[in-house]
């Protein structure tokens, strides 16, 4: 006869769950609303989503003040782990989501946004990501990861174009393989240590002095492979360009930010204790990944003819750049990564929104891709404002001072230098230089070439609506005036990261 379970509700610390439960409740509510009254204007769903995300944001603010008072919180049988990393990354996730969801309010009607399921899935996905970052239990990470990924595959497919299905199928299949890698890796760590909590795993491994180094390395290989997929590190990146191309620009922009920050947090939790335990091989492998990803993705981005694909490769390169911070593993580096990602969020939000406003429903005869460089040729003549703003985001991506990403790059590179990774810092700087060329290429097209095809003139900006303008405005302001925010942001993030021991 089993003992009756006797747990006091207080010890569960259910408040730690609040930030994840809010979007889930929101998603269910959206579905219920649709059940009772269909044919509601799509903007209602957008507003509902923003409302719930905002509540989520407030809940996060609550847990962040709790964190500042009491330090790291555990909850729900110690499965939930609300530390500084969890809070900062959830802030990034929620704020980025709030900024991306209004992109559904385009002036052209894309039919995925008329389904309430789209928004419900979107909220589920956010909850999944939040679970992923707010735990160190491998099971919950897995559940969060898969909740988010499965929603994401569906969201991509809902774009309902030939290429979207292809992208979804590709992403899905590769994701399934990565899930296999992840679970196998977890199994090995479970076999070696008898636990599925990263803390415990670390304690056991350190206690026995990594006596099973071979198995640890094999487990590491599997886990790394699965996260390299999520983070699109070369050679696990192959999905990224196709998926970006296949999904709507808004979705692609979202994918370049939110899933990756979640994966970065898990990578930090998992890899850094290995590195700090002095496993040089782990460090060496990550080093190679970082360098290859940065460099190769940059080279591929150079030869692209479609702007969105170029941005896809550029996102891969940026991910490699940020991965360097995980490898360095100091407090400064981790802070730098989070700062980088905040700044990257604004810039990429802007650049993908700029693609989004120029999206046509149907391609013109003779047009091969949605956002070819030719489409933007001579943009300055038809709409100088759009060209200038787009150029601004490109300059920021290229790391030109004083725009947002310059500070991220600067700080990350300096973190590398302070930790003694001089060569790495040099490679990072060189890569930023290479990257400058393909961003400049777009600027050259916009400002110095004549329009290739007069038909494009009408297309660009045809998708523009007030809410898109607002979002682009926010992104532009964030990109230009980042230099004011950099220092306070650093202080805040640094405090959170430092107090949670990373």
């Amino acid at each position: 006869m089993l003992e009756p379970v006797n747990v006091s509700l207080e010890s569960l610390n259910l408040m730690t769950l609040a930030p994840m439960l809010i979007p889930i409740v929101g998603a269910l509510l959206i579905l219920v609303v649709d059940l009772f009254k269909s044919n509601i204007d799509k903007s209602l769903y957008v507003m509902l989503s923003i409302l719930f995300l905002f509540t989520d944001f407030m809940a996060l603010a609550g847990s962040s003040s709790a964190f500042m008072q009491n330090g790291t919180l555990l909850g729900l049988f110690d499965v939930m782990l609300v530390d500084g990393l969890a809070i900062v990354s959830q802030f990034i996730i929620v704020v980025a989501s709030m900024l991306f969801i209004p992109l559904a309010l385009t002036s052209k009607r894309f039919h995925e946004f008329s389904y309430p399921e789209f928004f419900a899935l979107f909220l589920f996905m956010i909850a999944g990501f939040q679970f992923m970052v707010a735990t160190d239990n491998l099971i919950l990470i897995f559940v969060g990861l898969e909740t988010a990924s499965l929603s994401l595959y569906t969201l991509i497919a809902m774009h309902n174009r030939e290429k979207s299905f292809e992208a979804a199928v590709k992403y899905f299949t590769m994701g399934a393989l990565a899930a296999g890698f992840y679970s196998f890796g977890s199994m090995i760590f479970y076999a070696v240590t008898g636990s599925v909590e990263i803390n415990q795993i670390a304690t056991v491994l350190v206690a026995n002095g990594f006596s099973d180094i071979g198995f640890v390395m094999v487990g590491f290989a599997f886990i790394l492979a699965s996260f390299a997929f999520k983070l699109s590190l070369v050679p696990f990146h192959t999905w990224a360009p196709d998926v970006y191309e296949g999904s709507s620009a808004a979705m692609a922009g979202y994918m370049s930010i939110v899933p990756k920050i979640a994966a970065f947090i898990v990578a930090m939790r998992f890899f850094e204790f290995l590195i700090h335990s002095g496993l040089v091989w782990v460090e060496a492998i990550l080093y190679v990944f970082v360098v290859v990803t940065m460099t190769a993705a940059n080279l591929w981005a150079l030869v692209q003819t479609d702007v969105k694909r170029m941005l896809a490769y550029s996102s891969i390169s940026h991910a490699g750049f940020a991965m360097a911070a995980v490898m360095i593993g100091t407090t400064q580096a981790n802070t730098a990564l989070l700062l980088y990602w905040v700044l990257f969020t604004f810039t990429n939000l802007g650049s993908f929104s700029m693609l989004w406003i120029s999206r046509q429903k149907k391609m013109l005869p003779g047009q091969n891709s949605d956002h070819s460089y030719e489409k933007f040729a001579g943009l300055v003549q038809s709409s100088p404002m759009a060209a200038t703003i787009m150029a601004l985001f490109m300059l920021s991506l290229a790391g030109v001072p004083p725009f947002a990403l310059f500070w991220g790059k600067m700080y990350l590179i300096s973190a590398a230098v302070t930790s003694g990774y001089t060569v790495l810092a040099l490679i990072m700087a060189l890569n930023s230089a290479i990257a400058g060329y393909y961003y400049l290429k777009l600027i050259v097209y916009m400002f110095m070439k004549d329009p290739v095809d007069s038909r494009y003139e009408k297309v660009i900006g045809s998708n523009l609506s007030l809410s898109l303008k607002t979002i682009i405005g926010i992104a532009a302001v964030g990109t230009i005036f980042a230099f004011i925010a950099v220092d306070p942001l650093l202080q805040a993030i640094g405090g959170f990261v430092y107090n949670s021991g990373y």
């Binding site: 390395m217 192959t238 700080y411």
Partner: protein, 640 residues
């Protein structure tokens, strides 16, 4: 006093942002007026600061904010008004005020009137950041800022093919040089741990010589780009595609002198490495004569003035390279006044001649445009260095430096250049204003510029005349900051011979130019005359074939190389390697599968490849750890 610093710095920014609000709209006169007023405010504040410094006030130092101060990186963003920067601030704000007011008239009929002021004020702001920053990082930001604004202003008439081309050329050439500069800054930071001028300069003497040489060289490469020194000079002449006020402000008075400013600013560095200094001086002297020779035969009014700017920049570098920083700065200041005046005068002429640039098609304009004639003549006298105008004092000082420091080759070259300068300046003046009227043939009815434009130019005119009188005040001002010394030629006789000789040479050149070009019966050259057939003429006229050379040997091969890389290396080699690797790893399949990307199978395989490689490393590590004892025994057996 700090208040004035902020006003001087931010008034141009406010002006730029204000004008930018109206870029998309039709011409609004008040935009130009308000922009001019704001720039004038900056000028007034700079004057207050100058007076403060002149009265022996302490340099003003403010730290605006700290951009980053965590870990090993600390970039405070501070500004300083000291003896050097206040001179630059005066030059920049004065010339900009004049140019802003002048532009109200010059850009009168342009539909992008408002946009012009937005760019122009943005340029002034960047330039102020450049000169006022108290560290290399801020200087670099301003440096990039002026580059960007210069690009926007050269290509202002962006629907003109040649303008956008020139803008890009300028931008790209500067980018190449900026890379050098960036490396220089990197080296400074690397070796001293700071980018603050004071701290870096204090740390320089402790570094080894080779490092300093490299820093000096790389910083100078940056200066070469911005100041258009050989071989990165071609962009400056092409930059004349921009509106003329832009040429006056950016490509004569301010931005192009930023390179000289950098060298002057870094003088504690260059003092330690006299060899690099000598190289700078030699290059400067070479550029001086090289550019002057190209100006001799050119038939484009603005280009001639551009070459003369280039030549004068050479003078400044010659002085700075020889360690006479104050002389360089003085010439920079004097040159800014008379060259801006010359350009604005050229702008008047261009306006009157409906954008005709060939002086051979002008002639006898002095009746129609009396004031412009007077101003340009005086500016040319000043440029030629005729006593007692500004150019005489500053240029003569440079010649004396060359002589006193016993660099007689540099001295001779600069002396000859002074003659050439006088010749081409007055060739231009003579062709435009004297002789007989050749323009009616082309159906042009010239008229004098607006009154207020002429009034706007008058401060420059006055300064071009009297700036020399301030030589002593100037010397005292910068004496301490730049370790200035007087360059005295010991024997009075030599001194007088030199001065009189130089003056005689210059006046003779002027006279010759007048005689040759002010006479009647000059024809518009059609390429048939004997001179034009001569090799030398062709060489000079085609700018020593350097643009042609660049196009033929850099641009074209680069383009071809790129396409080869793309077609051959990328499509064939890279793809083939990728496929090849995949094949080796997956020879399980007998038939060759499509290994191209885009295929889901291939993508999945790539993932598995990654995993397998990781696993192999893992297994290797595991085995090595398990058998480490045996391994070391084995290796010992091999004698390792």
């Amino acid at each position: 006093m700090e208040k004035y610093l902020y006003i001087a710095l931010f008034a141009p920014l406010v002006s730029s942002l204000f004008s930018a609000l109206f870029t998309a709209q039709k011409k609004k006169q008040f935009v130009g007026v308000i922009a001019s007023l704001l720039i004038f405010t900056a000028f007034a504040s700079s004057t207050v600061l100058l007076v403060h410094i002149l009265n022996g006030g302490e340099p003003i130092h403010v730290t605006l904010m700290t951009w980053m101060a965590t870990g090993g990186l600390n970039i405070p963003f501070g500004f300083v008004v000291d003896e050097v920067s206040v001179v630059m601030m005066m030059v920049v704000t004065l010339v900009s005020t004049v140019v802003h007011i002048y532009s109200n008239g010059y850009m009168d009929h342009d539909k992008s009137f408002n946009r012009f002021f937005a760019w122009l004020s943005a340029f002034v702001f960047s330039m102020m950041v450049l000169v006022m920053s108290d560290n290399y990082a801020g200087l670099f930001i301003g440096w990039e800022g002026v580059g960007l604004c210069s690009w926007g202003l050269i290509g202002f008439w962006y629907n003109k093919e040649s303008a956008t081309w020139a803008a890009n050329e300028a931008f790209i050439m500067n980018r190449i040089a900026d890379l050098g500069m960036l490396i220089g800054l990197f080296l400074v930071y690397w070796n001293t741990g700071t980018l603050q001028y004071e701290e870096a300069f204090a740390a320089f003497p402790g570094l080894d010589h080779a490092t300093l040489v490299w820093i000096g060289i790389f910083l100078f490469i940056g200066a070469m780009g911005k100041s258009a020194q050989f071989p990165l000079h071609t962009w400056l002449a092409d930059a004349m595609e921009g509106p003329t006020p832009v040429s006056a402000l950016i490509h004569a008075a301010t931005m192009v002198t930023a390179g000289v400013y950098l060298v002057i600013r870094s003088h504690p560095l260059y003092d330690l490495i006299p060899n690099v200094g000598l190289f700078i001086a030699s290059l400067g002297a070479f550029v001086a004569i090289f550019a002057a020779s190209m100006a001799l035969v050119n038939r484009d009014m603005k280009r001639i003035i551009a070459y003369s700017t280039l030549s004068q920049l050479g003078y400044m570098f010659a002085a700075a390279g020889l360690g006479a920083y104050w002389v360089a700065l003085f010439h920079l200041m004097a040159h800014a006044f008379f060259k801006a005046l010359l350009f604005l005068g050229a702008g008047n002429v261009m306006h009157a001649m409906h954008d005709e640039l060939d002086p051979f098609k002008m002639g006898a304009l002095k009746e129609k445009m009396k004031w412009t004639w007077i101003m340009m003549t005086i500016a040319s006298f000043a440029l030629a260095g005729v006593f007692p105008l500004a150019g005489f004092y500053s240029k003569d000082a440079i010649l004396e430096v060359g002589f006193v420091e016993h660099h007689y080759i540099i001295y001779t070259v600069l002396l000859v250049t002074a003659g050439l300068t006088a010749f081409y300046s007055f060739r231009l003046v003579a062709l435009i204003f004297h002789g007989e009227d050749r323009y009616t043939l082309f159906g042009i009815h010239p008229h004098e510029a607006y009154k207020f434009m002429l009034w706007a130019m008058s401060p420059l005119l006055i300064l071009a005349i009297i700036a020399g009188a301030f030589q002593h005040t100037f010397f005292e001002l910068v004496e301490e900051a730049l370790n200035a010394v007087h360059y005295h030629i010991h024997s009075h006789v030599t001194l007088w011979i030199m001065i009189i000789g130089t003056q005689a040479f210059v006046l003779a050149s002027i006279f010759y130019a007048y005689k040759k070009y002010a006479r009647k019966g000059i024809k518009v050259p059609d390429g048939t005359s004997e001179t034009e057939q001569s090799f030398l003429y062709k060489l000079l006229y085609n700018q020593y074939y350097i643009p042609y050379f660049y196009d033929e040997y850099f641009v074209k091969p680069y383009r071809e190389l790129s396409s080869i890389f793309w077609k051959k290396v990328d499509l064939k080699v890279v793809d083939a390697t990728v496929d090849g690797i995949a094949k080796v790893l997956y020879s399980t399949g007998s038939a060759t599968r499509g290994m191209q990307s885009g295929n889901l199978s291939t993508m999945l395989r790539w993932m598995v490849v990654g995993l397998v490689v990781l696993l192999m490393i893992a297994v290797a590590v595991g085995l090595a750890a398990r058998y480490s004892a045996e391994l070391s025994q084995f290796l010992a057996g091999l004698g390792v």
